[in-house]
């Protein structure tokens, strides 16, 4: 049974008020809480390692899979390996997320490795949110990894969000793109206090005509620190772009290193990176519309992370 605290976490990471529609598998404190499959979407427990295998039948259109993880048992470190097979020609949304509530002194953590095989012509939207709450002293640690293989003409859109409360995060995203496929990644990370978050990304444009756009938005408050590394490798005629923006407030620190590697003369790769305080002209504009200094900052950050 899900208690009130679980429901709060579920709302924060998956925007769910109750059990979701369609296929789902909810994991609580390292164990299966509840599961539901549909005619086209099958979810089974992986018998080789801790995790699940989600198989989406070819041609499945407009269905969704929710796989939230809830941690509320102090001292637990949950490691999970989930595999997703998105069948050819399907068009689906997968919502994952991890909510940690830490009420005690021991660290709590979640390490989730999500591997995707997106078959020919399939479209996948993947939404992942990480959130931690609770006033316990235990550090809340999250290390999400995604590995995506895009077959010919597959299209994947990933929204990766770490909205707050996570003390330590090592985020890894890896992708290999086949011919004609496209991958769009939007990553948003906010840290505060003494938190630390690293994001490492490697996108390999292996197929001709593949394209990828990676956008990273970071807000670094308090004494927190974020590092962002992204490498795009072009092996064929392809298109790739990295855009990383960081807003630093208070005493935050940031290192941003976008890297481009072209192994083909027709590769088109570019990047933009910026680190800075909130722009003065944005603040002044909002204040001239009647907002206080603080309200203006909030509105700019909210928009930036939208």
């Amino acid at each position: 049974m899900l208690n009130a605290l679980d429901k709060d976490l579920l709302k924060a990471v998956a925007d769910l008020d109750d059990l979701p529609q369609g296929a789902y598998s909810i994991r609580k404190n390292g164990k299966l809480e509840s599961r539901s499959v549909t005619a086209n979407i099958d979810i089974v427990t992986d018998d080789k390692r801790d995790g699940i295998i989600v198989t989406i039948a070819p041609g499945t259109i407009n269905e969704s899979v929710h796989i939230p993880v809830i941690l509320s048992e102090n001292g637990l470190n949950d490691v999970v390996y989930n595999t997703f097979i998105v069948g050819a020609g399907s068009d689906v949304t997968i919502v994952a997320g991890c909510g940690i509530h830490c009420g005690g002194p021991e660290p709590e953590g979640h390490e989730g490795i999500h591997e995707f095989r997106v078959e020919k012509g399939a479209r996948l939207k993947y939404v992942e949110k990480h959130y931690a709450s609770g006033h316990g002293f235990g550090r809340k640690i999250m290390n999400p990894t995604t590995k995506v293989h895009l077959e010919e003409n597959a299209h994947v859109e990933m929204e990766l969000t770490q909205i707050g409360g996570v003390d330590e995060a090592n985020r890894i995203n890896e992708a290999v793109l086949g011919p004609g496929s496209s991958l769009m990644i939007m990553e948003r990370v906010m840290t505060e206090g003494d938190q630390k978050a690293d994001s490492r990304n490697e996108i390999i444009l292996a197929g001709e005509g593949s394209s990828s756009n990676m956008i990273s938005r970071s807000v670094i408050k308090g004494n927190s620190r974020q590092n962002f590394y992204a490498t795009m490798v072009a092996r064929q005629k392809c298109f790739g772009h990295i855009e990383c923006d960081a807003i630093i407030m208070d005493n935050g620190a940031n290192e941003t290193i976008p890297a481009l590697r072209a192994e083909h003369p027709d590769a088109e790769l570019s990047h933009e990176a910026s680190i800075g305080k909130i722009a003065g002209d944005q603040l002044m504009k909002l204040m001239s519309l009647g907002l206080s200094d603080e309200e203006a900052v909030n509105m700019i950050i909210q928009g930036f992370l939208r």
Binding site: R217, D245, A279, D281, Q282, M284, K285, L286, M287, S288, L289, G290, L291, S292, D293, M299, I300, Q302, G303, F304, L305, R306
Partner: protein
């Protein structure tokens, strides 16, 4: 309704010998704007028009002098306080955000999220299509589009004093006259004291009063007809300013 008293804004500058010097961008300016009137401010590039506007909005702090709004000294007030008091400013170079939409700005400006009310403002402004509402106000907007949005946010505040800093830059030929008529209509319908900084003859034509600024000084205040000699031949500006109270630009000759 707005009084500038001995208003100066100076910055430190290095001269050829590397010595620090003060340069007056706005130089001891005295002027009283009357309630409900339409003023056009013009003058050469770099003469101080934007700086003057920003001093009034509180974005820049004067190095000397004071500003009175409706009889109250606002020199020490923040931007927010001046906005709340009824002053609004359309930036010459509007800020571009990330993820903030026209709807967001309009909601803040009009203090409402009500869809009907927002649509009503967009219709009243007229020059922004309804499809603009959910556009992000970011670097993808064209130069003209962002100026239209900027102007709309000023109108949405229903200010007592509206300052538009070159609202016509980047605006297409088909929108200039509607924009001029809009600001004129706002002045009349809402008794908005209006200051338009512009080099565009269309704004000068509808203004009640023309102000010419040069080298941080007010060189002329009066009607358009008498300003024409100066506007047609700006070399005149390099002559000494007219004696106090002189209304005819011919005095420059």
């Amino acid at each position: 309704m707005l009084e500038l008293k001995n208003l100066s804004f100076s910055v430190a500058e290095k001269n050829e010998n590397g010595e620090e010097k003060r340069r007056d961008i706005i130089d001891e300016m005295d002027f009283t704007f009357e309630a409900g009137k339409f003023y056009a401010i013009t003058g050469p590039n770099g003469s101080g028009k934007t700086t003057l506007s920003r001093l009034i909005m509180g974005i820049n702090q004067p190095s000397a002098g004071s500003i009175f709004f409706e009889g109250k000294d606002i020199t020490g007030m923040t931007i927010t306080e001046r906005a709340t008091a009824g002053i609004s400013y359309s930036f010459q170079q509007p800020a571009r955000f990330k993820g903030v939409t026209f709807r967001d700005l309009l909601s803040v400006a009009a203090r409402t999220e009500n869809e009907e009310k927002l649509l009503e403002i967009v219709r009243r402004v007229g020059i922004c299509p309804l499809s603009f509402l959910d556009k992000p106000v970011d670097s993808t907007l064209s130069g003209g589009e962002i100026k239209k949005i900027e102007l709309a946010t000023t109108i949405a505040r229903n200010p007592k004093l509206a300052i538009y800093d070159e609202p016509d830059t980047g605006i297409d030929l088909w929108t200039i006259m509607p924009m001029v008529n809009l600001l004129k209509k706002e002045q009349i319908d809402h008794k908005t004291t209006t200051i338009v900084v512009s080099h565009n003859r269309s704004f000068l034509d509808v203004a009640d009063d023309i102000l010419i600024v040069d080298h941080g000084k007010l060189r002329y205040h009066g009607n358009l007809k008498n300003a024409l000699p100066m506007l047609n031949d700006f070399r005149i500006c390099s002559f000494n300013p007219c004696p106090e109270g002189e209304q005819d630009a011919q005095c420059f000759r």
